[in-house]
């Protein structure tokens, strides 16, 4: 990985973290799903995994002191985006398909935390937690769908332009 890519990934993590903190007063309303999908579309699989690992470590450190009950499900859930994007989504840039994916992801993200929260709080029954979590999942799913549907394409084009331009500049200066 070249230095410029490393810089871009670092800045992407900073953007992810900052927007999340800015929107922390609105539970589950954030641009994280949109931004991660945009970054995953632009970066390679390996770069996406590095980005998500950095972001989750920073977020968990700040919000919960690297509490494994948050860190592990969060890491697993966000990893699902690059994994799905490079497999079942076939690297699509169709915003409608990606928006529907973001909608489903809103629910999957919530479900990922359930077994860990049950272990942490010593809860034995699954369904009451599942029901209690539904409002938050609906908010996250709808936010993800709307933001990806309307903002994904312009952000993707912008990011792609930045990456291509940087590559061209780098190639020209090398020559």
């Amino acid at each position: 990985m070249d230095t410029k890519k490393m810089m871009m990934i670092s800045l992407s993590i900073a953007i992810l973290f900052t927007q999340e903190q800015l929107l922390v007063f609105l539970p589950n309303v954030q641009l994280t799903v949109l931004l991660i999908i945009v970054f995953v579309s632009v970066y390679s699989f390996k770069e996406s995994i590095i980005l998500i690992t950095g972001y989750v470590l920073l977020d968990s450190l700040y919000m919960g002191g690297l509490n494994p009950f948050y860190l592990v499900p969060m890491m697993l859930a966000w990893y699902l985006i690059p994994i799905s994007y490079h497999t079942i989504m076939r690297r699509t840039t169709n915003e409608v398909k990606l928006a529907l994916f973001a909608f489903v992801f809103g629910f999957v993200y919530g479900w990922m935390f359930i077994p860990f929260r049950m272990m942490q709080l010593g809860i034995n029954e699954l369904w009451p937690y599942l029901v209690a979590d539904i409002p938050f999942e609906i908010i996250m799913a709808t936010t993800g769908l709307l933001t990806v549907l309307w903002i994904y394409k312009p952000l993707y084009n912008l990011m792609n332009e930045v990456v291509i331009t940087k590559n061209l500049v780098a190639t020209k200066s090398y020559k």
């Binding site: 007063f25 609105l26 539970p27 919960g64 509490n67 409608v96 272990m119 942490q120 010593g122 709808t142």
Partner: protein, 141 residues
């Protein structure tokens, strides 16, 4: 056009889901509930009955009768328990029963059943018994 239709459908889904959830979560018009507070060693610190009307919430009754503290956005104890949009406040302190969220929390039991709803989402029904108990994270229920 497709994007507009999907967006409208998503917003209708969001609104109808919350309307349905609020319909099923209605408190009684008035009644009496019992609130019991249990500290870290399992002693009952307080156990009293309180009358409520349709204007009251469980948090209101606690706030009016106890010294309560809630989690701020960084999950630190704060005396400012402001209502949070869409979700529930996290109760961290009732009188001398104080928790830190990382290692301990206040579990809420409604009629002897562990409540998985936050304090702002619990409905009040006449005769309900609420127990607020200090719990260690990872401890038995």
């Amino acid at each position: 056009m497709k994007k507009v239709i999907i967006s409208v459908a998503a917003l209708v889904f969001l609104a109808s889901s919350f309307l349905a959830l609020s319909y099923f979560n209605k408190s009684d018009v008035e009644g009496t509930i019992t609130i019991t507070v249990i500290d870290e060693i399992g002693d009952i610190v307080s156990s009293k009955e309180f009358d409520f009307t349709s204007e009251d919430t469980l948090f209101d009754l606690l706030d009016q009768n106890f010294e309560v503290g809630c989690a701020n956005s960084s999950y630190q104890l704060s005396s400012e328990c402001e209502k949070i949009l869409f979700t529930s406040r996290v109760l961290m302190k009732i009188d001398d029963v104080e928790t830190d969220w990382i290692n301990s929390y206040i579990a809420i039991y409604k009629n002897n059943e562990y409540s998985l709803l936050g304090i702002d989402n619990i409905v009040l029904n006449d005769g309900d018994v609420f127990v607020f108990e200090y719990k260690t994270v990872g401890g038995d229920n």
